[in-house]
């Protein structure tokens, strides 16, 4: 791939966005009928479908915890999701890593002690991949968990940010992510307290630049919080309308 300019002199990125612009977000709750909660979340061209089951009987009774719920996450990437078709095995390290990050993030946000001795399952399906896998999964999972009616301390909103040509940029797509020189920072926050639930970064970033990039990412998270809240209200209004007839 020829080295293309990720940030043009006019300040436009490869997909025409400015440095501090988020991609278009489309999200909907309650898309699957059998799951207790589900959501479909699109951020730019990254599309993810998530199903939440729970609280229910733990599958392995030996893992049952007497005082809190077990969170179980499985992450699948559809073979047709990337521009080159690729089938990943179930034990793929990258998939397991993402599932593990999501699990740890939500272990801090879900009120697990409310659902002692049970299991909450979160199953992801990445239908189209265009960067920001972890952030879209976390946002989608928040929506699905709310749809399932599972108690959480707060929404969990995630966003990525990077650093191109001395400028902090928000919400990287796959072209920007795959560039080796661009550091890729993923942050998940709990908006009400402002606490950070997840922080992950790849590549190199000078320590003096870290603050500005993180600030930008957290700004993005606030914006995403609004979008998720709107989706929850829309789903609730929809339900209220159906119940009132």
């Amino acid at each position: 791939m020829s080295r293309q300019e990720l940030l043009s002199p006019e300040g436009l990125r490869v997909d025409g966005r400015r440095a501090n612009e988020l991609r278009r977000i489309l999200c909907r709750a309650s898309v699957l009928n059998t799951a207790d909660g589900s959501a479909y979340y699109e951020q730019g061209n990254t599309k993810v479908l998530v199903a939440v089951f729970g609280p229910r009987e733990p599958r392995a009774r030996g893992q049952l915890q007497h005082d809190q719920a077990i969170i179980n996450v499985e992450f699948n990437i559809a073979p047709f999701s990337t521009s080159e078709r690729r089938k990943r095995s179930k034990g793929d390290k990258r998939l397991l890593e993402i599932a593990s990050f999501v699990r740890q993030t939500f272990e801090g946000a879900i009120q697990r002690s409310v659902y002692a001795r049970s299991q909450i399952d979160i199953y992801f399906h990445l239908l189209q991949h265009d960067g920001g896998t972890l952030e879209t999964c976390i946002n989608a999972a928040t929506l699905a968990l709310v749809d399932a009616g599972i108690s959480m301390d707060d929404y969990v909103c995630a966003c990525t940010a990077g650093f191109i040509d001395e400028t902090p940029v928000l919400d990287l797509n796959s072209v920007e992510e795959s560039s080796i020189e661009t550091p890729d920072l993923t942050v998940a926050v709990l908006p009400r307290s402002g606490n950070i639930a997840l922080l992950q970064m790849e590549s190199k970033l000078h320590s003096t630049k870290l603050d500005s990039v993180m600030e930008l990412a957290i700004e993005g998270c606030k914006h995403i919080h609004k979008k998720l809240d709107d989706a929850v209200l829309a789903a609730a209004n929809d339900l209220a309308e159906k119940l009132s007839h």
Partner: protein, 290 residues
């Protein structure tokens, strides 16, 4: 396929109901549940479709994506044919047993079933047209199916979705040139046209089959069994029929026992009759699906 435990009275109720000609949800024995079809929702795939079979959205849900790739020919492969590779994956959102490696057996079984129906001339697709340059390059169509929910009749949903996805598939056009090299021999080279507007459909897709699954309950059989009906099924037979009403593939599912041969020929005749209506229904749904 997924375990549903029914009490003996429920089993008796369903079995005797079927024998008298009525089913738990009021359908006739040859009626299919409501089908919803959507196509082209995955922009990165060459073709895609989502099929849901069931009342009010609660039912079997399958998503199929088609990706076309150019493969280099290796000795041992057919010299002037393309190929279709199917792959089915059941999601844990369909059943908890499908978590981790739990769905592996079912995935393999469904993959092989689809493969039997679609990979080869019996599918109606002109495999020779999928070859770009004999002994050099050919198109391979990857059919990736994702099963999101299972409420009976999984094979039919897979076939409907696969047919819709293949019908909606657009392949980039390929330009083949013959160039003379230093020795004066003619070498063929191909170039894939990278234009989103300049795409072609697969040749022969109108001939793709649809499948009808017959489940024997008691002494009679029903089509498109629901979850409860599958739990009392004694034997099942999936018949794939082409639009020309020829039988393309037949597969007997597991369950408890075999079919009496007299029932078998009755099923074949019924399959062809039912298929006629199914193709009409498919056409109607497909046209409004995009």
């Amino acid at each position: 396929m997924t375990s549903l435990i029914l009490s003996p009275s429920e089993q008796d109720f369903i079995t005797r109901g079927v024998e008298k000609g009525f089913r738990a949800d009021g359908r006739g024995s040859l009626d299919r549940r409501e089908v919803t079809l959507r196509t082209n929702m995955i922009s990165q795939a060459n073709g895609s479709a989502r099929c849901r079979i069931g009342h009010l959205g609660l039912g079997t849900d399958v998503l199929v994506g088609i990706k076309a790739e150019v493969n280099t020919w290796t000795p041992g492969e057919p010299e002037s044919l393309g190929s279709i590779v199917c792959n089915v994956e059941c999601s844990p959102s369909a059943a908890q047993e499908f978590e981790g490696r739990g769905a592996e057996d079912l995935n393999v079984e469904l993959t092989q079933t689809l493969d039997r129906m679609f990979n080869g001339p019996q599918s109606g697709i002109d495999m020779a047209k999928l070859c770009i340059i004999p002994k050099q390059a050919y198109w391979v169509l990857h059919v990736d199916a994702l099963v999101l929910d299972v409420k009976g009749g999984i094979v039919d949903a897979l076939v409907w979705a696969t047919r819709a996805a293949l019908l909606s598939t657009k392949l980039p056009r390929v330009v083949v040139e013959s160039i003379a090299d230093e020795d004066g021999n003619l070498q063929s080279e191909f170039d894939v046209v990278d234009d989103a507007e300049d795409q072609v459909a697969i040749e022969g897709v109108e001939n793709l089959p649809l499948s009808v699954t017959f489940n024997q309950i008691g002494k009679r059989f029903v089509i498109d069994a629901s979850e409860q009906e599958e739990a009392v099924t004694q034997a099942s037979l999936t018949v794939a029929v082409s639009p020309q009403l020829e039988i393309c593939a037949v597969q007997k599912g597991g369950f408890l026992r075999g079919f009496p041969p007299s029932l078998l020929s009755e099923i074949m005749q019924t399959a062809r009759r039912v298929a006629r209506d199914e193709f009409a229904k498919f056409k109607e749904l497909y046209e409004t699906a995009a």
